[in-house]
């Protein structure tokens, strides 16, 4: 019988075994860190202090102490804390202390997911019980049974919820929550960094509504935010809450020794610079670890990748561990399914989990020893969050980042200094995005009438109120605007998905037992749920048999095939209005509003192991129109000195590389910002490259690109120059441009854009 390897044996093997060693481009060790602690604050209630001592807490970490002092002084804070640094005490301690002093005090905790809320409820309740306090804390979400809802509303000191519930269930029914709103002293916003982009812009408006209702009941709560490391936690917190904030970043928590390994899969096609797929390499590494029962989490960037890896891994260790020992975890699974997985991880029944970034958040899944990232997660902040999943409880741990062939991954993996040295990304939100704003002004008007001249957060509402009165949603009487419609506006606004209606996925494999297995936003559905698409759910393949676009339903049936599908999106773009512009010589950079027409065109069937194209078909779906903000850069065609076709290929290549680098600057998912080249842009007839926000109205991503255009161009140029391929490869200019000069021409164009 073979003995199982321990993690340290595996680390040795990584260093010595050539099939691993050769692929390791960087090995970064982060030493353990000593704790920095302070005495418990003197004013802490005896019962609380003793409860903490019984749980082994005799002193506070420095950041917990600073948080306590600021909050007790009535200041709002944002605390920046890495995973497993005891951040919950930053808010639980001052909140509970205030409740001991005044039993009427109420607090609202907002977590981005239900899973996190459940976790936090257990945590705070343990402390309350230990201290023998008469304080009630409850979760209030879709899972809360109707029989206890009224108790939560009236008697909950700490109400733990999520932004969606706050938006659709609490605020529109605020009169049932008088006890909460009249006495609301604290609002806790955990995982602040999650509230960026579209979601963050929505949540900022939900908070505007929350504060408006608090004012109505005469309260003005202190906001306590906690965030993972991002470049602008203070700015984000202040933008989200419109409150002055204190930054707490003196982390005093200890951490265990961590090995951070950069792993670049071997090149298998030299001229094209094609590397072995990251998915295959991650599978190899994870398989090795799991066979030795070393608890491992594998992150993959998309739902599809999760499912592919899951299929691979379950097959691999089926006999040693049984198929249930490795599970998938991502959004789109139903809640009960997710709860079971979380529990299995905590109690050790599950050895491995393959996840999207859904598990980046602080759900307590216990101690995992190894984290494998299949591809760069897209941002430095995300990478550290994912890395924090390994070795939470101060033991030695290993993080392996397996690079894929895409340019951003290759850029990061070849620049460890950039990764370890530079500050992480900026989180951007745009609470004044008109579409988002108007939706929330409707919701706010439903909650309380608007007074003339009232500002909504920092936004002047007059023109929007008049517009809504014209649309007969509001009615003006005297100096107030009243809701005058039979609808319930919050039900028409989803905080999470870009488009407002989701497509429901229905499994009709068993005609007698048709069931809903998930849902997906409309824009993603165009390329993932078109007819004949292969949709994966918990490692099971389904083929889409019918997509009812009108009714937003996708009917799927279980299949067993050896390929997945990949769809193309064709895009047409028009400039509507130019808000900002700067020019130099023949170069023109601008920012403004655009209209985008997108249409899914064809899909390809791609074989699992070899990734070869084994078939294709058309997609028949209507065009989707998008009005959004965009940044663009143009030059005069004759200055390029290139033929029409070489110009086109060059632009295509440059756009591909730019599209991979751009997310670096704006902390977004690759799909949130799109890059589109045009040989002859409609508005100025010039060769132009556009960067547009995928969400209607924009959420500030393209504006940030406009501001830092030179930087983006510079880094992209560097990426292409350093790429080892001959005539362009997926890691730099992509494979869409199939001419020999594409790489050279893309570089030439980038240089010209930079004015060289």
């Amino acid at each position: 019988m073979k003995a199982r390897k321990s993690l340290s044996q595996f680390l040795e093997e990584l260093k010595l075994e050539s099939s691993f060693k050769e692929n390791i481009v960087h090995w970064h060790t982060i030493d353990e860190k000593e704790a920095k602690t302070v005495d418990l604050p003197e004013d802490i209630d005896e019962k609380l202090a003793r409860a903490l001592e019984r749980r082994g807490i005799n002193r506070l970490y420095t950041h917990q102490y600073s948080s306590y002092q600021h909050i007790r002084a009535g200041k709002s804070i944002v605390a920046v804390t890495p995973t497993a640094s005891g951040k919950t005490l930053c808010y639980n301690l001052p909140v509970l202390q205030s409740m001991v002093e005044n039993p009427h005090t109420r607090a609202l905790y907002i977590f981005p997911t239900k899973a996190l809320a459940q976790d936090q409820k257990s945590e705070i309740n343990e402390l309350i019980q230990e201290a023998g306090l008469d304080i009630n804390s409850y979760t209030y979400d879709g899972d809360t049974s109707p029989s206890i809802r009224s108790k939560v509303r009236k008697a909950g000191h700490v109400v733990i919820t999520n932004p969606d519930m706050l938006h659709a269930a609490i605020l529109p029914h605020h009169t049932k929550w008088v006890a909460l709103f009249e006495n609301l002293k604290y609002v806790v916003i955990d995982e602040l960094h999650i509230y960026r982009g579209v979601f963050g812009s929505h949540v900022a408006n939900v908070i505007r509504r929350l504060r408006r209702i608090c004012r109505f009941y005469g309260s003005d709560p202190v906001f306590i935010c906690t965030s993972a490391t991002i470049a602008n936690p203070l700015e984000l917190a202040e933008q989200l809450t419109e409150k002055k904030m204190e930054l707490v970043d003196n982390n005093g928590a200890p951490s265990g020794r961590k090995h951070f390994v950069f792993y670049n899969p071997p090149i298998i096609n030299k001229p094209l610079n094609i590397r072995r797929s990251a998915t295959l390499e991650a599978r190899k590494l994870a398989g090795e670890l799991l066979k030795n029962k070393i608890q491992t989490i594998v992150f993959a960037r998309s739902r599809v990748r999760v499912e592919i890896l899951l299929t691979y891994l379950q097959e691999l260790v089926k006999h040693q561990l049984g198929p249930k020992a490795i599970r998938g975890y991502r959004g789109g699974y139903l809640p009960t399914e997710r709860r079971a997985i979380e529990k299995g991880l905590r109690n050790g029944d599950i050895y491995g989990v393959v996840s999207t970034n859904a598990l980046e958040l602080g759900v307590d899944i216990g101690q995992l020893q190894v984290c494998i990232m299949t591809g760069y997660p897209g941002s430095i902040a995300s990478s550290w969050q994912q890395a924090g999943r390994a070795g939470r409880r101060h033991s030695e741990s290993l993080v392996i980042m397996v690079a894929s062939s895409n340019p951003l991954d290759q850029y990061i993996i070849q620049h460890p200094d950039y990764f370890f040295g530079s500050s992480p990304e900026t989180a951007r939100i745009n609470p004044d995005n008109l579409i988002i704003l108007i939706d929330h002004i409707k919701c706010a008007a439903y909650e309380l009438p608007f007074k003339s001249g009232e500002v909504f957060g920092s936004f002047d509402t007059e023109e929007i109120l008049e517009y809504l009165a014209e649309e007969r949603v509001l009615y003006k009487n005297g100096d107030k605007w009243y809701w005058m419609n039979d609808s319930f506006p919050a039900h028409n606004v989803s905080l999470r998905s870009a488009s407002q209606e989701n497509v429901v996925i229905i499994d009709q494999t068993n005609i007698a037992k048709v069931r809903v297995i998930g849902e997906m936003d409309r824009f993603s559905a165009m390329t993932l749920l078109h007819e004949e698409a292969i949709y994966l759910h918990q490692g099971i393949q389904y083929q889409v048999e019918k997509l009812d676009w009108e009714e937003k339903k996708a009917f799927v049936r279980e299949v067993k095939v050896d390929y997945f599908t990949d769809a193309n999106l064709a895009v047409e773009l028009k400039v509507l209005e130019e808000d900002k512009k700067r020019t130099s010589d023949h170069i023109e950079m601008a920012y403004g509003d655009v209209s985008v027409l997108a249409k899914a065109t064809i899909f390809k069937k791609i074989k699992f192991e070899t990734h070869e194209n084994i078939g294709s078909g058309p997609i028949f779906l209507p065009e989707e129109e998008l009005h959004t903000s965009a940044a663009w850069i143009s030059m005069n065609k004759k200055e390029t000195g290139l033929s029409e076709s070489r110009l086109e290929q060059g632009l295509l290549g440059a756009a591909h590389a730019l599209g991979s680098i751009a997310p670096l600057f704006v902390m977004s998912d690759r799909s949130d910002i799109h890059v589109v080249p045009q040989v002859k842009a409609v508005h100025n007839d010039k060769p132009t490259i556009f960067f547009y926000d995928r969400y209607p109205g924009g959420v500030g991503l393209s504006e940030k690109i406009y501001e830092g255009m030179e930087n983006v161009l510079q880094e992209t140029k560097a990426l292409i120059e350093r790429c080892g391929c001959e005539n362009g490869c997926p890691s730099c200019v992509g494979m869409d441009s199939r001419t020999e000069s594409a790489k050279e021409d893309a570089l030439r164009l980038l240089k010209m854009f930079l004015g060289k």
């Binding site: 009169t175 014209e470 949603v473 003006k476 809701w483």
Partner: protein, 426 residues
């Protein structure tokens, strides 16, 4: 046009519209300051319909009042029978939740609202609060109407001045009407007296208990037609009320609203009839009660723990013959079993076991098997009935492979096996 406004227009395709305007928007914001009679459009027309303004705090609402003589018949009953119903409760010992034992007829008020939307959110506006009660020899109906959003203070002031009662009677008011009144009151509570607390008879729940078996939907209008013998003529359907109100706010013409008021009037008057009818059912005064209804009344008393009344109703229903009588016998036997009146219980079980209704016969056989096994210690007989139960279940199984039948079958098998073992050890 401002650039913000231009942007709004451009984004229109992405802005979900609640409804598309066809006409110019309502002419809002006409005037401010104290309102007088002169400010009320169509006042003459209103007053012709007995609708008069109520001024408060510089604003006004409209109030409609109407009296009906007690001998007026609405559906099956005259309003005067409401007084009989209250007296009947006085004579009764029952502590049924609908009992008016401690009230006089004038203490109750019948209540129903009309709103601009569904559900209990804060933005759902109540534009009509209707109430009725007994006053001397009349039923007095009073309706408080919101002439436009923003006039809530006089509306609720007028309403609060008119509700000096102890208990309200509604249809689904426990989950809809009253919580919404509380919500709207909370929004302007600093301008108003406190909202008093009331007892509450919600007749919807009663209707559900008694007529769920025969009515597919339990909307008040269905109960009116199917149970109370009330025919509505020229009635506007309730779901149109919000649209009629929006139209009124825009054009101020009372015509549509008066129709809504009449609809609300019928709703409220029907509550009186419904209360009379329910009382007569519950107290066994109605002699046209069906066996099934009597049975349901018995079930309700059983649920409330009033075993005597339950047994009375069950035996009454059991005498009727027909399907309901078998159910009633079974229910009655359970009451008897609780009271350990074995002899009578066994008699009923045997009747049911020999009857035509498989499901009931099956249950009776099981009861008999239990009785013979545990009480009589007559294992032979117990086996006899257990096997009879099995045969009955097998018949069922052929028609319906349900999960429940599967489970029952397993249980019967176990019972028979156990009995067989017992007989061997005897």
């Amino acid at each position: 046009m401002s650039s913000l406004r231009k942007k709004i227009d451009r984004m229109k395709t992405h802005l979900g519209s609640e409804n598309a305007p066809e006409n110019p928007p309502p002419s809002a914001n006409r005037e401010s300051g104290e309102k007088t009679r002169a400010d009320i459009p169509f006042l003459e027309q209103w007053e012709k319909e007995n609708v008069h303004p109520y001024f408060f705090d510089g604003e006004y609402c409209l109030v409609r009042e109407k009296r009906f003589p007690l001998d007026l018949k609405h559906g099956k009953y005259r309003f005067s029978q409401f007084i009989d119903a209250v007296s009947a409760w006085h004579r009764s010992e029952s502590s049924h939740p609908l009992s008016a034992k401690v009230f006089s007829p004038e203490d109750l008020f019948f209540f129903d609202i009309e709103t601009t939307g569904l559900g209990g959110g804060t933005g759902n506006t109540i534009f009509l609060l209707g109430q009725a009660s007994i006053e001397g020899d009349s039923v007095v109906l009073k309706q408080h109407f919101l002439p436009r959003p923003g006039a809530e203070v006089p509306l609720y002031q007028s309403f609060l001045e008119s509700i000096n009662y102890s208990t309200l009677v509604t249809y689904n008011g426990k989950s809809f009407d009253w919580p919404l009144v509380k919500t709207k009151h909370t929004l302007i509570r600093e301008h108003l007296p406190r909202l008093p607390s009331f007892g509450h008879f919600d007749l919807f729940h009663a209707a559900k208990r008694l007529w769920k078996h025969k009515l597919e939907r339990l909307k008040l209008s269905v109960v009116e037609e199917e149970v109370l013998g009330i025919k509505r003529e020229h009635d506007i359907p309730g779901f149109l009320a919000p649209m009629i109100y929006f139209d009124f706010v825009e054009r101020q013409n009372p015509e549509g609203i008066i129709a809504v008021m009449k609809h609300n009037e019928t709703d409220i008057l029907s509550l009186i009839t419904l209360y009379i009818h329910l009382t007569f059912q519950l107290l066994g005064i109605d002699h046209k009660q069906t066996a099934k209804e009597i049975f349901e009344v018995g079930r309700w008393y059983a649920y409330l723990g009033e075993t005597g009344r339950a047994a009375e109703a069950f035996s009454h229903a059991a005498e009727s013959g027909g399907a309901a009588s078998i159910e009633a016998k079974l229910a009655l036997s359970r009451q008897l079993k609780k009271q350990q009146k074995w002899l009578e219980a066994v008699r009923l079980w045997k009747e049911v076991a020999d009857g035509q209704q498989n499901d009931a016969a099956f249950q009776a056989c099981i009861e008999l098997a239990k009785f013979y096994e545990h009480k009589e210690k007559n294992i032979q007989n117990a086996i006899l009935y257990a096997k009879k139960a099995e045969t009955l279940l097998n018949k069922e199984w052929k028609m319906n492979h349900s999960e429940k039948n599967g489970r029952l079958s397993e249980e019967v098998q176990k019972r028979i096996q156990r009995l067989n073992r017992k007989i061997l050890t005897l």
